[in-house]
């Protein structure tokens, strides 16, 4: 037990916002991100207004493919609550990682997985109802670090289904839109490794 956990174990039940470095809270979506519990046994929850039927269908699809962060916990007064890993964090604020290694999850791995994730998001209602992700990608995709070799480390954050927009663009046009968006959001971190994202986007399993 760390010294900080020792201190906090004596505390009463609390509910506090997650530190901004980690937080997925979004005023646009009315999405909250809080740590709640007693002392050292705090759990992290994301809550947001229950989505409509179309968005719910997308969310169900993401859950069935294990692409959504955490687990559905409950719905109380039209707010859906998900329990999520305490250390999950938005990919947007991360530093550049170019290190190569069998046990290193570098930016090439991350953007390949991001490509796969957005492609899978696109077909979550089927190939004929293609949806485009219209929100900020870096703030709605979560990294869970320290995973076993075969485990997934990148997930869409609960509530990201609300950014789904039906699209009639062809796939290449959508890919171009994503590339531009990623350049704007990630700047130099995305420079030179666009191909990793493209490879992921074009190779994703259905």
């Amino acid at each position: 037990m760390t010294s900080h956990e020792k201190i906090s174990q004596s505390a009463e039940y609390t509910e506090v916002p997650v530190s901004k470095r980690y937080s997925f809270a979004s005023p646009d979506l009315l999405r909250l991100d809080v740590l709640s519990g007693h002392g050292g046994h705090q759990r992290r929850f994301i809550e947001y207004p229950s989505p409509n039927e179309a968005h719910l269908a997308i969310r169900e699809s993401l859950i069935s493919k294990k692409l959504l962060l955490g687990e559905y916990e409950s719905t109380i007064e039209f707010f859906d609550k998900f329990k999520v890993p305490n250390g999950s964090k938005p990919i947007l604020h991360g530093a550049i990682v170019r290190t190569m290694g069998d046990y290193t999850y570098n930016d090439m791995n991350l953007f390949t997985d991001l490509g796969k994730l957005l492609r899978d998001f696109g077909v979550s209602l089927g190939e004929d109802n293609y949806v485009e992700f219209a929100g900020n990608i870096g703030l709605n995709v979560a990294l869970v670090d320290y995973t076993q070799q075969k485990e997934r480390g990148l997930f869409l954050v609960p509530g990201s289904e609300l950014y789904a927009a039906f699209s009639t663009k062809d796939k290449n046009a959508i890919l171009d839109t994503y590339l531009e968006k990623l350049h704007n959001e990630f700047g130099i971190r995305f420079n030179g490794i666009e191909q990793s994202f493209i490879d992921g986007f074009q190779s994703a399993e259905r």
Binding site: T2, S3, H4, R98, M100, G101, Y103, Q148, G187, I193
Partner: protein, 356 residues
């Protein structure tokens, strides 16, 4: 959100270490191989917080009581020793974190009793300058964390030490998956508009509190205060980690200059790792001041130093011998400001060409 356009680069030192990929694989293979052979022994050394040198005292106690059998041994802290009563197995993790570690820290699950496991961080110490020195460095890491934890300074939870009887020692701590170190954060947009980044600003203010507290505690210092060794977590705590080179003592040494030198070294390391751009090789930093056109000192003062000073002065004004401590602290700050200004001037001359 736009980021300033430095060349594509890395904030991880390991990119430029030759054969990092092979080194990482080798470390993990070595550790995976030794784990099933381990003989678990109890490491039961009480930390004496009233000692002038609690870390050294603990290391000496351990050295005087350890046993060598010629077989690989895991010396485990009491709360972990009782868990391991059968064969162990190691399953490595892939990660983003820890890649800037000087020692090449690795992470994974230590599995025991078939169905139970614990997530651990392993810091390898490989023999370079003799077995005794390597062992001492490993013990310094383990007991550094143990003492920092005892003082509530934020050390990682130590599990134990492994001696593989060949060339390697390992210091084991509990992996706190939710910890993030400052070198894993992109600071390129942070300054000068730091009032728009209140979350990031808060991290530095808390770092200032944490380091001020350490430096106000007798003779204590960290010894390796680069941003890779400052951690935060979802609760918003900020604290130094990795206390291998740290010293702790609640009593003041007689030598004011010695104390000054250690604190200045801590802050100099911090300043360097804040200042150096992200794209310049093994000593890459956070590049926080890259957008600052004038004096970097003012930026450092805004972000960290003013808060650090305020806390140090406040802490000095309490307790016994406060008149003398206040006088010494004021003198210390006169010198610190001068030396850190010079350091930042030099850093700016050296690195400002990397900015836009």
């Amino acid at each position: 959100m736009e980021r300033h356009a430095l060349e594509p680069s890395t904030s991880n030192n390991s990119e430029l270490i030759p054969n990092f990929q092979n080194l990482e694989r080798q470390r993990i293979e070595d550790f995976t191989e030794v784990v099933p052979k381990l003989d678990a022994r109890l490491l039961n050394v009480e930390i004496n917080l009233s000692s002038k040198q609690p870390k050294e005292e603990a290391i000496n106690t351990f050295m005087n009581t350890r046993i060598r059998t010629g077989e690989p041994i895991a010396y485990l802290a009491p709360e972990y020793h009782k868990l391991f009563n059968g064969p162990m197995k190691f399953e490595p993790y892939k990660s983003q974190g820890g890649k800037a570690s000087r020692h090449g820290v690795i992470f994974g699950d230590l599995e025991f009793n078939e169905h139970e496991s614990i997530s651990i961080a392993i810091k390898p110490f490989q023999q370079v300058e003799g077995r005794a020195k390597t062992e001492l460095e490993c013990l310094s890491d383990y007991f550094g964390n143990a003492v920092a934890n005892s003082f509530n300074l934020g050390g990682l939870e130590p599990i134990g030490i492994i001696d593989d009887t060949k060339n390697n020692f390992y210091s084991l701590t509990v992996l706190q998956r939710s910890l993030d170190t400052f070198d894993n954060i992109d600071w390129s947009d942070f300054y000068p508009e730091f009032n728009n980044n209140l979350g990031m600003q808060e991290l530095w203010l808390k770092a200032a509190h944490s380091i001020a507290l350490l430096h106000s505690m007798g003779d204590s210092y960290h010894g390796d205060l680069y941003i890779r060794n400052i951690a935060t977590n979802p609760e918003g705590w900020v604290f130094p980690i990795d206390w291998e080179l740290g010293e702790f003592s609640c009593s003041l040494s007689r030598d004011f200059e010695e104390r000054y030198a250690e604190r200045f070294r801590d802050l100099k390391q911090l300043v360097r790792s804040m200042s150096i751009p992200v794209n310049i090789g093994p000593l890459s930093g956070a590049g926080i001041f890259m957008e600052v056109r004038d004096d970097w000192w003012n930026a450092f003062n805004d972000i960290f130093f003013a808060e650090y000073k305020s806390w140090r002065m406040d802490l000095a004004s309490h307790g016994h011998h406060r008149a003398q401590i206040l006088f010494e602290t004021k003198s210390e700050f006169d010198q610190l400001e001068l030396d850190l200004r010079n350091e930042l001037t030099n850093l700016r001359q050296e690195y400002s060409l990397y900015s836009n």
